[in-house]
Symmetry: none
Subunit: 220 residues, 4 copies
């Protein structure tokens, strides 16, 4: 595997500590490529996507991509990892807020639907490639992705546990509950997308929140 020197690690920064113009331009171009790649991978999946299409969308020659990413698979991994990190950051922003556990849940649902709404590629990538990554890539990559996912689940899981401690939530397995939250948001989002409806709408939010908090069964 060819090694792409990460130019930002070398002395391209000038004495003021600010990245040089060249370096900034390089980063912009890298972002452009990642953006194009994300769109194509989201639509076609890892294997059906072609570098031709990505290159055309990024408005670069095919060979140029190899100056930024050492292989198609590497580009793919970069795309997915970037998405996961962004996703996690946004989830984290919710969790650090000082609100009650059930407010947290409600805010989580809102946020996730918002993210999927604004970044439909993420929704599609998560749906299509969740297993692709863990299947095709080498062991190191595999475990890296698992760790990303696990961390995200853990963050939510801790809040659930906290809610249980406060006796505000039932004593369910916190980890499983966290997974349930992700699954619900993801499933509902996919469904809206496939029916060409807006993902981020009051109905979706209300439904998931109510269902999660109170279940479907009435009590007398």
């Amino acid at each position: 595997m060819k090694i792409i020197k990460d130019k930002s690690m070398t002395n391209v920064k000038n004495t003021t500590g600010v990245a040089s113009r060249k370096e900034r331009e390089r980063q912009v171009k890298k972002k452009d490529i990642l953006k194009a790649a994300r769109e194509v991978f989201a639509q076609k999946g890892l294997h059906a996507a072609t570098l031709d299409e990505i290159a055309e969308k990024a408005e670069f020659a095919k060979g140029t991509l190899y100056g930024y990413f050492s292989s198609k698979e590497n580009l793919f991994i970069s795309v997915v990892e970037e998405e996961m990190i962004n996703f996690r950051e946004k989830i984290k922003d919710v969790l650090i807020q000082d609100i009650t556990p059930d407010q947290t849940i409600a805010l989580l649902v809102v946020t996730m639907l918002q993210i999927f709404d604004q970044n439909i590629d993420l929704l599609r990538l998560m749906n299509r490639e969740q297993l692709a990554v863990t299947t095709c890539a080498d062991g190191i990559v595999k475990s890296r992705f698992r760790r990303h996912y696990q961390k995200m689940v853990n963050m939510v899981s801790e809040h659930i546990a906290h809610g249980i401690e406060l006796n505000q939530f039932h004593a369910l397995n916190p980890n499983q509950v966290a997974i349930a939250i992700f699954s619900l948001c993801h499933g509902v989002a996919i469904n809206s997308f496939m029916n060409r409806k807006k993902i981020y709408n009051t109905d979706n939010i209300t439904l998931i929140t109510n269902l999660l908090l109170d279940g479907i069964k009435t009590r007398n």
Copy 2:
């Protein structure tokens, strides 16, 4: 696209209305190919799977597959459709039983986890290729798959609606609730699979059922 004559529709049946030996043999072979294809598609996805591998697994020569399916894509579609029909049949079996609405929900959850446990390929196909089908294939195919899925959701949806009428369920959108049930089972199953744990286990069943019926919030 080459048209494969479906021999069962032509005069291969003898006058007694029973399929001829040849025709029965043909159906057996077709099943074998579909089985091999399902395994490979589930593991590799539509594009990464090769006819070579499928043919080898089916113990036929590659060219032979074309006597049964007009193209790789067609074979893929057949696989997915067969899976969806089987899935729907099993869901239907649950729904025709004469039990209370919340018993129905509980049984649905049990059944889905059981299906995924026994047919891990289905889980993987649904996860990886849900959108692949709707993306790559032509419009007619696309809508056919949507109809399958919609029917399945509708079947469950009706039962939810019935429960609401009986005032046993909250007045949530029945269609959305149905989707939520599928999403929860699917999400939890995927998670167990990725952690190399058994999908069909008491913990999973209890959790999903409790969460669905009662939500996570305690009441005083």
Copy 3:
């Protein structure tokens, strides 16, 4: 690395023990490809040769070559190894004859020049790729080629040693003398080839033989 099943190892032979017609045809085609490859590799070398050119010369589609050889490098190795084996066989034929040591030397020289004359590709391959093979290919291949070469040298070396025992040859290092014989024939052949002269001619034979046996220095 894809494995090419060697069909001659399977049960394609009929009951009479004779290779089936298909198998024979396959071998003929394989020979055709090897022949085309030899010519192109000899002229261009491993890297400058292209599969396009080889395929065209062999009158097959490019992809077809991969049904016979798993890669360009593998094809190259097959070519070189085949040549080395043929070369060794012919040398062996000389050495098993019951003649005096210096007659053996003379016959060796004649034979080598004849071989190079009839198979100019061999001459060129040995010249260009002697190191290429030992450099680029993996360890196993490397040592296999070394063994071929060493065996050839050893065979001649033994005869030199025998001549020394009989006091017909000076007590020089037999192994080195063998190498000297090869070098002389090869060098002279290369030179004739580059000057567009015939390799196998009386002058070349006489010169090498006389020089080898008697040296260049006169005695009084």
Copy 4:
């Protein structure tokens, strides 16, 4: 083919006839590039070598090479020609000495083995690319290289002829004898190299010298 102006031919020399500092620096850099190129070409051959590797080894950017050589092929030719000229110079130094013909032969052998020992790249280049040059390059280049080689052979050849006149050497074809000397030294050197032994050692020198002068056959 782009023409690289050879600055030393233009008015960059100052009025004193001494090359300017700039010009001297330029020549130093050119040498550095040639050195790096020689190493890489020797190891990989013309086609497998990359400008990237050469540039890195020379510690210049890839594009900079084009300020000194108009193309990869041109750089290669410069490398080989430089080597041939150096080689010829050293051979010439031997031949101008006032010693007996057989002393000359002995010294030639010593010198050649020494050269190969000190410049393993030359040995490898001669072995791998002897024909490459005459094959790939245009006619003019081809004949230039032939002329180099022929001159070298001729120089030695004349001395052999002189030895024959003096009745110190057998009346063999002097030209062919010269070729034989080169071949023997080259062949033995290659063999030592491939066996990871030192090229310049007493055994090699003694063997070649003895064999060349006296042949392998004993006399009574």
